[in-house]
Amino acid sequence: MASYSDPLVYVVDDNRAVRDSLVSLLTSNGIAVRSFASAKDFLTRRAQGASGCLILDLYMPELSGLELLRLLRARGNRIPVIAISGRRDGVLDAALTREGVMAILSKPFDDKELLGLIDRALRIH
C-alpha cells in the first residue's frame, strides 16, 4: 500500500479501545490518522477544508453517526465515509446509502477490507 503523507484518515468513535486500536492499525500501515471521541469533537476540532476520509461509528451518544453525516452533506462536505457499526439495521443502512457512504462495515471487520476501502477513498478524493 502506498503511504500517504498529507491526506488524513479521521476516526470518529465513542469507544476508546476501538478508536485507539484503529489509530494503531492505520499508523502501522503508514497512514496518518486523527481520532475523535464524538461527532461534536470532530466538528469543532477538525481542520476545516482538509481532505481525506472518515471512518465513522454509527451508535454514539448525542450526535449519532448518521446525524453527523447528514450535517456534513448539508454543508456540502463530500468527504468519503466508511461507516462502522456493532449492530446492523436495515432502515439505518438504507439511510446511510442515501447519504452516499462508501461502505458499511460490521464490527469486528477484516483489516484488509478496511485498508482497501481507505486506499480507494484516498485515491479518488
Binding site: D14, A17, V18, S21, S24, S28, G86, R87, F109
Partner: protein, 378 residues
C-alpha cells in the same frame, strides 16, 4: 431418695377424671408430652409415638432432651427452662429428633403446669407435624427460584443484541491491535520503534480480551441455574454490578446514571444475583421508558433508615406511569409494553419479599418513575 416435688406418674393417675385426660391425650392428633419439674417424661401420647418412633414405655422416665437434635441442645434446653419459669409458647417452628435420628419439623406449643401453690410442677408440650408444610414451602421456594432464573434468561434474551454489541467493541479492538502488531513487525528488520509499537499493541489487545472475558463472566454468573444462596454482601457493590449490566449496549444512548450510595451501609444477607436481577429489571425498564428522549437520567441511591432497613431508591426522568397504573404495577400481566409479559415487577416483588423486604412505586414527586426497595439489616 426424696420424691420429686410436683407431678409424678402416680399423681397423674390419681387425678380426678384421669380417665378423661388419658382419653383426650390419646385422641389428639397432635403429639402431647408431659414432663415433671426435672424434665422427666411422664406422658408420651400415641400421636407422639407415631411422630417420633418411640413407644411410650421407652421414653417415660427419661429426660425430654432425648428428643432434641444434638446440635440444638442448648437452645431447646433454654426453652424448657423458660417454660419452667412460667413462660408459655405458641406454635414455634422447630424440629425434634425421631428415633431413627432424622429431624421432624414440628410446630410446638408449650405451657408450664403449676401445682396447687402456683409453683412450676412440670410442662406440657404439644407438637404438630409440619413436614408437609415444610416440603410444600421448599417446593415453592424452588419454583420461585426457578421462575427467577427463567426471568433472568429472558432478560438476557431481550438484551442479546445489546450484549453482542458490547462484546463486538473489545473484539474489534483486539483484531485491530493484533493486525497492527503484525504489520509493525512485518518489515524485514523492524526498527526499535516498530517493535515497541507492536509490543504496545499486543498488550492493549490482551487488555481487551480480558475486558470481553469480564463481560462474559458477568453474564454467565447472571444466567447460571443455581439454588438461591444468601450471603453477606455490600449492597452498594451489588448496585454497581447491576448498573454495569444494565448499561450493556447503551453507550450510544443519552441515558446517564447517577449514584448516591451511602458508604457506611452494613452488609446485607442477600442472594446477590437475585437482588441484582431486581435492580437490573428496574434499570432496563427506566432505560426503555426513556428511549427516544433527548436526555435521560437514572438516579440510584442507598441509605440506612432508623428502623434498620437498607433503602434503595431508583428514580428516572422518563414519562413515569399513570396513577391508575401505580396500584397495578406489581400484578402479573400488568404491562404497558407492546411485547412485555408484565411479570418482571411481580418477580421483583416476590424476590424482595423472600428477603423479608418490600418494594413499592413512589407516588407523586418529580416526573418519572420512582421505586423504593427496603431490605432488612441483619
Amino acid at each position: 431418695m426424696e420424691p420429686m416435688p410436683g407431678l409424678t406418674s402416680s399423681h397423674l393417675q390419681s387425678l380426678p377424671g384421669s380417665g378423661l385426660v388419658t382419653a383426650l391425650i390419646g385422641s389428639s392428633t397432635d403429639g402431647v408430652v408431659v414432663t415433671d419439674a426435672a424434665q422427666m417424661i411422664l406422658i408420651f401420647s400415641p400421636a407422639c409415638e407415631r411422630l417420633f418412633g418411640y413407644a411410650a414405655r421407652e421414653v417415660i422416665g427419661k429426660n425430654i432432651a432425648m428428643l432434641f437434635p444434638p446440635d440444638r441442645l442448648p437452645e431447646e434446653e433454654a426453652l424448657v427452662g423458660k417454660i419452667m419459669s412460667g413462660h408459655n409458647f405458641h406454635h414455634i417452628e422447630t424440629s425434634w429428633r425421631h428415633r431413627d435420628g432424622s429431624e421432624i419439623p414440628i410446630s410446638l406449643s408449650a405451657m408450664s403446669v403449676k401445682d396447687g401453690e402456683g409453683k412450676a410442677a412440670g410442662a406440657l408440650f404439644t407438637a404438630n407435624d409440619i413436614t408437609h408444610r415444610k416440603t410444600a414451602e421448599t417446593k415453592e421456594a424452588a419454583l420461585e427460584s426457578e421462575l427467577a432464573h427463567v426471568s433472568r434468561l429472558s432478560a438476557m434474551g431481550e438484551m442479546s443484541a445489546a450484549i453482542a454489541h458490547e462484546l463486538n467493541q473489545p473484539l474489534t479492538a483486539v483484531t485491530n491491535y493484533v493486525k497492527a502488531a503484525q504489520r509493525f513487525l512485518g518489515a524485514d528488520s523492524p526498527t526499535p520503534a516498530q517493535i515497541r509499537n507492536a509490543r504496545d499493541a499486543m498488550e492493549k489487545a490482551a487488555d481487551q480480551t480480558i475486558r470481553a472475558g469480564t463481560i462474559i463472566r458477568y453474564l454467565r454468573d447472571f444466567v447460571e441455574k443455581r439454588e438461591s444462596e444468601k450471603a453477606a454482601w455490600n449492597v452498594n457493590q451489588v448496585i454497581r454490578g447491576a448498573v454495569a449490566l444494565g448499561l450493556v449496549g447503551t453507550a450510544h444512548s443519552n441515558v446517564k446514571v447517577k449514584l448516591e450510595l451511602e458508604p457506611r451501609i452494613p452488609r446485607l444477607i442477600i442472594d446477590k444475583i437475585q437482588i441484582q436481577q431486581v435492580l437490573l429489571n428496574l434499570i432496563r425498564n427506566a432505560i426503555e421508558a426513556m428511549a427516544g428522549m433527548e436526555k435521560g437520567e437514572i438516579h440510584i441511591s442507598s441509605a440506612v433508615t432508623e428502623d434498620r432497613y437498607a433503602e434503595i431508591t431508583i428514580r428516572d426522568t422518563g414519562p413515569g406511569f399513570l396513577p391508575e397504573m401505580a396500584g397495578k404495577l406489581f400484578h402479573a400481566f400488568a404491562t404497558t409494553k407492546r411485547d412485555g409479559l408484565g411479570i418482571g415487577l411481580k418477580i421483583c416483588q416476590s424476590i424482595i419479599e423472600a428477603h423479608g423486604g418490600s418494594i413499592r412505586a413512589l407516588p407523586g414527586g418529580p416526573p418519572g418513575a420512582s421505586f423504593r426497595i427496603r431490605l432488612p439489616l441483619p
